[in-house]
């Protein structure tokens, strides 16, 4: 890392710790003395860096003050544009969410797992498994998580699990999507389907339902039969009105009754009686006082099955992408922090334990403070990574929600090379990205200077 390689390298014995205090000796016999040769050695790198990194940086800064065509000077116009454009503001907002949530989550998770793995024998294997995502392209990781969060519970594993758990606690309705035949005297209300008119006690109400595959009617269903005449209760029959070979809304003797449909008797807007249909579809409301009642089929009968959450929709997309990033980066944090942990002198930990500190206290008061520099480096590295996030958003967010998932790096590409075609604004966005990363540059340079002296 730019940054912490010293801590880690020393810890792992990678290097021989050759960062001796800077030798100010003028006559160091180990150093070469030919500036000309130095220039030759440095030339290829200098040429490439000058042409493809430094010159472009200057060019971008200048370009950001010119309009779309590049001919007209617009001052800070492009920057003003970025702060008033909705898409860019969303990108800013999302970048803030990313920076606040993601690096801290990964650093914390990495710290916990690194400490826990210290106590097991297969720590190397474990770290390797968690590290593996770093070897894969962000593009492939994006596809992996697009599949994980796919909305169809027959494709996406997360929704399959969510639906499974949901159905365990609240089983789905028996007749999803079924509804009264259009001609039947029912209207859709928030509570379900309610009859338009009221029925006097003793009436037999015909409730023909459609919109449900006959093959999915429960096996205990028998042929629907008309309710017996001459009773005093409100009653009726509810059946699947397939109407093939028969007439609509009429029992033809072969149509099946629909068992276990919940029904309600309603008076003045209040539910006053409840019942359930039998295997032949017949139902009665026993014990209702004589009078007239509306009949209602509560919505619970017909609710569509729970299909899980729209993970890739506008509201959840950023947390979803962050979760995939956590999957990718946690291994890095663990490896880095574990290297730092192994550099902590055992004596310090033992001394604390001998003094009667609990494991938790050792962790909080000895391990974490000693690890602080490493944690800071991990955190800064992750922040830089997050600021440049592009591929994951590009791949995981479906085209229709890329606007909601937008981040600066993606917006910069869109504006410059995608649909936007405005390289003035694109340059301004690039410069702003550079300014956001600049503190990390200073952090690195300071750290480097400190290590050298």
């Amino acid at each position: 890392m730019t940054v912490s390689d010293s801590a880690v390298a020393d810890a792992k014995g990678v290097r021989d710790g050759g960062r001796a205090p800077k030798q100010v000796v003028v006559d160091d016999p180990s150093m070469g003395r030919s500036p000309k040769l130095a220039a030759v050695f440095l030339l290829p790198a200098a040429l490439v860096l000058a042409a493809l990194v430094l010159y472009p940086l200057v060019y971008s800064v200048i370009r950001s003050f010119f309009d779309r065509s590049g001919d007209e000077f617009v001052g800070l116009g492009n920057y003003v544009n970025t702060f008033t454009d909705d898409r860019t503001l969303t990108a800013f907002k999302n970048n803030v969410i990313w920076v606040v949530v993601a690096p801290a989550a990964v650093t914390g998770l990495g710290l916990i797992l690194a400490v826990l793995t210290e106590r097991i024998k297969w720590a190397t294997a474990f770290r390797l498994v968690l590290f593996m995502p770093m070897a894969i392209s962000l593009f492939a990781s994006g596809i992996i998580f697009r599949l994980v969060y796919e909305e169809d519970p027959n494709q996406g594993v997360v929704n399959a699990a969510v639906v499974g758990v949901h159905d365990l606690f609240s089983p789905s309705s028996a007749y999803p999507g079924a509804r009264p035949r259009d001609g039947a005297p029912f209207v859709a209300t928030p509570e379900g389907y309610t009859s338009r008119e009221s029925f006097e006690s003793g009436t037999a109400v015909a409730v023909p339902l459609v919109g449900f595959p006959p093959a999915q009617v429960p096996p205990q269903a028998t042929s629907a039969t008309a309710p017996a005449a001459g009773m005093t209760e409100l009653r009726g029959v509810v059946w699947l009105d397939v109407s093939v070979g028969g007439r609509a809304s009429q029992l033809d003797g072969t149509e099946k009754g629909m068992p276990r449909i919940a029904l309600e008797a309603v008076k003045d807007g209040q539910v006053v009686g409840r019942t359930t249909s039998g295997d032949d579809g017949r139902f009665t409301f026993p014990g209702l006082p004589p009078g007239s009642y509306q009949l209602r089929l509560p919505a619970v009968n017909f609710e569509l099955p729970f299909r899980g959450l729209t993970w890739l929709g506008p509201s959840l997309i950023t947390p979803v992408i962050i979760s995939s990033w956590i999957w990718i980066m946690t291994g890095f944090a663990i490896t880095f922090i574990a290297a730092g942990l192994s550099a902590i002198p055992r004596d310090a930990l033992e001394a604390a334990r001998v003094d009667g500190a609990t494991e938790m206290q050792v962790f909080r008061r000895v391990t974490v403070p000693l690890l602080a520099p490493v944690l800071l480096v991990v955190f800064v590295t992750l922040v830089i990574n997050v600021l440049k996030i592009f591929e994951l958003v590009f791949v995981i967010a479906p085209g229709s929600v890329q606007e909601e998932a937008n981040v600066l790096a993606l917006q910069m590409w869109q504006v410059s090379f995608g649909t936007g075609g405005d390289q003035g604004v694109g340059s301004a966005l690039a410069v702003m990205l550079f300014l956001l990363v600049a503190p990390a540059m200073i952090f690195n340079i300071r750290r480097f200077r400190r290590e050298q002296s």
């Binding site: 010293s6 180990s30 440095l42 992996i144 291994g331």
Partner: protein, 304 residues
């Protein structure tokens, strides 16, 4: 539940404040968790981490109909649906094959160039005294975190002017440029760690710079060079953004070629999963074979 745990949290805070050897909630929980429990938890975490990749692998081994009909987890009940059909389809798909080759044509030269150029520069920064050496090194450190975005537009213009836009050479050059700062930094750190006596002895023997570089520094620097090469290889292999901007249809690597299929994700799972896995095979193999170097490389340069 929340009310039940609240007092525990308070106690935890007390511990941190007072530092008395009383045991807080978390510490009691951790204490009670034996190593056995920790192992179980970590095993679950590892499984959790592997599952998404496993899901992609299984999906790539099921045909289109099966992928549309049910999730990859159905193979536990119906293992017969596994097939190599998708991969056969990929091998017959010229665009994908060509893009796979392009990935190799881009990655290998980029890696070689970065290693060679950075080794030269790192040597000069480590073992040759010249005015401004500290400044050059500082600039390299500063460039470590430079976002590629600042160069996309200008370099696209530049490449357009010299006929490199849309070519593999252009993509390679861009990768080299943005790979160099980290590469120089990594190698410089390693080279400066080489014992002075070794270099001094070589100079005493009258060895010239080129000889010291080739016969002393490079052989000792092998582990660092290996780390760098692996890291650079993976970085270029896995790139999407740079190729998206600078490659055209004929020079597009596999990531760019597959990207067009994303629009119809739900119905393209067979092609996308097998294609993504094809693009992952090489990095995974490199990772497995050289994990030690890779881990060191990432530890040494992850700020990119």
């Amino acid at each position: 539940m929340t009310t039940a745990t609240a007092p525990e949290k308070v106690r935890l805070v007390e511990v941190t404040v007072s530092g008395a050897p009383r045991r807080g909630f978390v510490s009691r929980v951790v204490g009670k968790l034996g190593d056995g429990t920790i192992q179980v938890i970590l095993a679950l975490v590892a499984l959790f981490w592997l599952m998404p990749v496993f899901g992609l692998l299984v999906s790539s081994l099921r045909d289109e109909t099966d992928n549309n009909a049910g999730g990859w987890w159905t193979i536990f009940t119906r293992p017969a649906q596994l097939t190599l059909e998708n991969y056969q389809g990929l091998l017959g798909n010229e665009t994908v094959l060509k893009s796979f080759l392009n990935t190799i044509y881009i990655t290998v030269p980029s890696t070689v160039l970065v290693v060679v150029i950075s080794a030269l520069a790192a040597y000069a920064l480590s073992w040759i005294e010249f005015p401004g050496r500290a400044w050059v090194t500082t600039i390299v450190v500063g460039l470590l975190v430079m976002p590629v975005q600042v160069a996309l537009i200008p370099v696209a213009k530049l490449f357009g002017a010299v006929g490199l836009f849309g070519t593999i050479t252009g993509v390679v050059l861009f990768h080299v440029a943005f790979g160099l700062p980290f590469a120089i930094f990594l190698l410089r750190n390693f080279f400066t760690g080489i014992p002075r006596d070794l270099i001094e002895a070589a100079r005493m023997d009258g060895a010239k710079e080129w000889l010291i570089f080739a016969k002393v520094v490079l052989p000792i620097g092998k582990p660092a060079i290996a780390s760098l090469a692996i890291f650079e290889f993976l970085w270029v292999w896995n790139d999407l953004l740079v190729a998206l901007v600078f490659a055209d249809q004929d020079s597009a690597p596999i990531t760019v070629a597959l990207r067009g299929q994303l629009r119809q994700f739900g119905t393209n799972i067979d092609l996308l999963s097998s294609g993504a896995f094809l693009s992952m095979i090489v990095p995974l193999a490199v990772f497995m074979a050289f994990q030690r170097y890779f881990v060191q490389g990432v530890l040494a340069g992850s700020t990119k």
